[in-house]
């Protein structure tokens, strides 16, 4: 518990930076957007493992990741809108990147509400897993949307193949924030998973002994 608390404390602790203006939103916008996609892929992966091998813990992990992923997607959209207003002059446009990210949010919601709507837990796990797996197709669409379509959203500033087109200080600040968001997501998802395990395994002897 202390370790998890520390990770959250350090994870969400602010890492500020030394340059001006509206672009500072990037330090939460980009990490949140990356996490929203990464968490989805990880969630779908565990959901698939749970579906194929009938592994209960994998399904619980997938379910634990979904709310955090939805929150990351929401943050990416919100900060994007607030950033878009001063730079593009509008809160929202129906462009490929923005729309596919919104679809991602609905995929998370769909996953969660489908799971909640089925009473039998294992059956809910399996149905939601199917939805998660089909929805994975949206992630590359989000990622490459700025290349495939002519959008208002700028292209990637960072890629694995080229040198980043950012100042070093900005880049390091952003990567630290990505790391912080990553740690936060892991900590919260694992905490949620522990709660889920207790909930579902409440009739076992070990729970009785642990609580």
């Amino acid at each position: 518990m202390t370790i998890i608390g520390l990770i959250i404390g350090l994870g969400i602790a602010p890492t500020d930076h030394q340059q001006g203006n509206s672009y500072r939103i990037i330090f939460i916008h980009v990490p949140a957007a990356w996490m929203s996609m990464l968490i989805y892929v990880v969630m779908a992966f565990w959901a698939a493992i749970g579906l194929i091998f009938n592994a209960r813990l994998a399904s619980m992990l997938a379910l634990s990741l979904a709310p955090t992923g939805a929150i990351m997607t929401f943050i990416a959209l919100w900060t994007g809108a607030v950033w878009g207003k001063p730079t593009w002059g509008t809160w929202w446009v129906w462009d490929a990147r923005l729309t596919s990210e919104l679809v991602l949010l609905f995929l998370y919601f769909g996953f969660l509400s489908l799971h909640a709507s089925i009473d039998d837990v294992r059956k809910a796990d399996r149905s939601a897993a199917l939805l998660a797996i089909v929805g994975v197709i949206n992630v590359p669409i989000i990622y490459f949307s700025v290349k495939w379509w002519n959008t208002l959203h700028q292209g990637a500033s960072i890629s694995l193949t080229k040198a980043p087109t950012m100042a070093t200080q900005m880049l390091s600040g952003m990567l630290i924030m990505v790391f912080a968001f990553w740690m936060y997501s892991i900590a919260v998802a694992l905490y949620r998973c522990r709660t889920l395990i207790l909930e579902r395994e409440r009739h076992t002897a070990w729970v009785r002994e642990t609580v």
Partner: protein
């Protein structure tokens, strides 16, 4: 070392204060709410489990 020469410049964010702080505030708020809700859910669950176990004798 710092870009800002004083604190009020920092708060003003070059005129973008509302946008920058608006997005940071909402982010922090959402994350804090997530953690708090999760913690209360965990605690409530532990509480019910403990009282359930105390009512039913160990077999």
């Amino acid at each position: 070392m710092f870009y800002w020469s004083n604190f009020s410049d920092f708060l003003n964010m070059g005129g973008y204060a509302l946008y920058v702080w608006g997005s940071y505030l909402v982010t922090v708020l959402v994350l804090v709410i997530e953690v708090l809700r999760l913690r209360s859910r965990n605690r409530a669950l532990r509480k019910t489990l403990i009282s359930e176990f105390n009512e039913t004798p160990k077999n």
